[in-house]
């Protein structure tokens, strides 16, 4: 048995402060370090305004859907239906525009309303029928895949997509910023305001933090959870619409893969600024890490297998820095 008295094992205050910075800004530091590294590795191609705009443009759709998912996880639930839902929405909007010849704004409104309805259904099954959200949203997602199939018989809707519809996502607006980016900023900005700066947002955070306590503090927990699903559903709808516009077609399962990307962004984000809590700003950072990681590795020309390896490592390291910093600082 050791005879040594417990000595000052404490880190110096300076070291602690530094670790505290890592704890809060670890993922952001990771993002910056990554951007700097790629800029050094590929000075001509990576750090250009054009490339950054392209990456942001490309990532906007994933960011919007991840922003919606953030609301679902903030209220303490998972929404696995978003990818399938976005695929259905993409088919549907193309169908409405091409076959039913609806004016585009009307079609957009209808599809986003449908997204809200799907969120409502998810929320209802979770809060009233009390089915675990994993099963509920997986079930609803599977059903939506079936509906997408039924609507399109699996055949993509391509012919006769009007140029105006393509311009939804291809167009640029103010100062030539692509519409997708503007839509993303508006959506994430709005969600951030809602969650962080409104009384309703306080209730949203409360429900996610401790649903029992929220209920006893007078919050209508079920309504807030349903709201989370509705927002998630609406964001999925917007992503589906923009994706269909970008692809110029409505294709079944085109958006399915957004599910995993959105989850990665949301959980990466939860290590940003606040310990393990989900929030919109974090999701933004998470999505940027994923998008720039993919782009940078690619431009650098890493072989496919090492791209996967490095992508996985980036996820772990970005969060690991923050988490380690936190646990050391609080020792």
């Amino acid at each position: 048995m050791s005879d040594v008295a417990i000595s000052a094992r404490r880190l110096s205050p300076g070291a602690k402060a530094a670790l505290g910075i890592f704890a809060r800004y670890g993922t952001i530091i990771g993002l910056l370090a990554m951007v700097v590294t790629f800029s050094i590795l590929s000075p001509a191609a990576f750090p250009t305004l054009g490339n950054f705009t392209n990456v942001l443009n490309q990532a906007s759709l994933a960011m919007i859907i991840a922003g919606g998912l953030t609301l679902a996880v903030v209220v303490g639930e998972l929404d696995l239906s978003i990818g399938f839902a976005a695929s259905l929405h993409g088919i549907l909007i193309t169908g409405l525009v091409v076959h039913d010849k609806l004016p585009i704004p009307l079609a957009v409104v209808i599809v986003i309303a449908l997204g809200a309805v799907i969120g409502l259904v998810n929320g209802f099954i979770v809060t009233k029928v009390k089915v675990n959200s994993v099963i509920a949203t997986l079930g609803v997602g599977t059903i939506l895949t079936g509906l997408a199939f039924a609507y399109s018989a699996g055949v993509p809707i391509v012919a006769g997509v009007p140029e105006a519809f393509l311009q939804l996502s291809l167009g640029r607006w103010l100062f030539g910023i692509p519409n997708n980016i503007i839509a993303m900023i508006v959506v994430l900005g709005g969600l951030w305001l809602l969650v962080e700066r409104t009384p309703l947002g306080q209730e949203i955070q409360a429900v996610g933090g401790n649903a029992v306590a929220a209920r006893l503090a007078g919050v209508n927990v079920d309504r807030i959870k349903i709201l989370g699903f509705v927002i998630s559903g609406m964001c999925a709808a917007l992503t589906g619409i923009l994706l269909a516009s970008r692809l110029g077609s409505g294709t079944a399962s085109a958006a399915d893969s957004y599910l995993l990307t959105a989850f990665a962004a949301v959980f990466l984000g939860s290590a940003t600024l606040r310990d393990g809590e989900f929030h919109v700003l974090g999701t933004l950072v998470g999505a940027l890490i994923i998008a720039f990681g993919f782009n940078g590795l690619n431009i650098f020309g890493a072989p496919t297998f090492s791209q996967y390896v490095l992508q996985g490592a980036i996820l772990i390291i970005a969060v690991g820095m923050a988490s380690l910093g936190r646990s050391l600082a609080e020792r």
């Binding site: 443009n57 110029g248 077609s249 294709t251 399962s253």
Partner: protein, 291 residues
């Protein structure tokens, strides 16, 4: 109720070309008085094996395996063999106890790649979007490698896309590749081992307003043809999957009739190269290709 059952196992019953094949097969089956039952294995070879086994349970008349290579449906083939049910593949190759195949998409790539190399004048850079897990895509990649190898001034960057996620992957790979391949320096082309990743890349080209890059796909799905018509894609090879499906079911009748005497064989339907120039004529001949 007692109609013979044709079991179809598809890798993705929502993918355009699969759908066309299923439509062709269904038409032929209707003509023969068979009923069809389609199972979507959603990309999972294990699900495909299960579905084939289920059809064996059902004592199906015949089974079509769509796209899963014969080498990954071992358990399914064993079950069908035990039950004496013929299995044919589309794009899954001929081997083991498979009775017939078509849609072995490798050779289809030849005219497309030849055209691509020709338009590049033998120099420049290609972004190849590949999917090695798929038998068909792998064969096409081999074809491309062989042809491009004859042109040392062409550099190829290869990126693997995922299923699902091929649109997004195609776009993101294109973004990155375009960043290091600015316009006006050399001849550029993007090649997809099938149309969809290339279509994803077109989205990225259009978003960036780049029109210096020629895009090539294979399969000739409706969206690719639409893109060719609109000038965003340069060429694709139209696979007449409807006819492939139709012919295959008709051949299944022969296989059943021949019984043990059947010799396994490939029964390919030739593909048609479609370019900007030939698009209108092609669509006149095949209006069904974009429905």
């Amino acid at each position: 109720q007692d109609k013979p059952l044709l079991g179809i196992v598809s890798i993705s019953a929502t993918e355009a070309n699969n759908v066309r094949y299923i439509q062709g097969a269904t038409k032929a089956a209707d003509e023969l008085g068979w009923k069809t039952n389609v199972v979507d294995a959603a990309g999972s070879a294990d699900q495909a094996n299960a579905a084939i086994q289920n059809f064996a349970q059902l004592k199906a008349h015949a089974i079509i395996d769509m796209v899963f290579p014969y080498s990954s449906i071992g358990a399914g083939l064993a079950a069908a063999g035990d039950a004496g049910i013929p299995v044919v593949t589309w794009g899954g190759g001929l081997g083991s106890t498979v009775a017939a195949t078509n849609g072995s998409g490798g050779p289809m790539a030849i005219p497309v790649v030849d055209l691509m190399v020709e338009k590049m004048g033998g120099k420049g850079s290609i972004l190849a979007l590949t999917y090695r897990t798929g038998e068909v895509c792998r064969n096409r990649e081999v074809v491309m490698d062989e042809i491009v190898a004859k042109h040392p001034d062409i550099t190829v960057t290869k990126n693997e896309v995922r299923i699902p996620g091929y649109f997004e992957d195609g776009a993101q790979y294109a973004n990155a590749w375009l960043a290091s391949h600015p316009a006006g320096k050399e001849n550029l082309a993007i090649w997809g081992c099938w149309d969809d990743p290339a279509i994803g890349a077109i989205g990225s080209l259009r978003a960036q307003g780049r029109d210096d890059v020629l895009v090539y796909g294979i399969n000739g799905n409706a969206q690719a043809l639409e893109n060719i018509k609109n000038g965003f894609m340069t060429a694709t090879a139209w696979q007449d999957s409807f006819t492939e499906g139709y012919n295959m079911v008709k051949m299944l009748k022969d296989i059943k009739d021949a019984g043990g005497a059947w010799q396994a064989k490939a029964a390919e339907v030739p593909a048609v190269l479609v370019t900007r120039e030939t698009a209108d004529a092609f669509l006149k001949d095949h209006p069904e290709a974009i429905k």
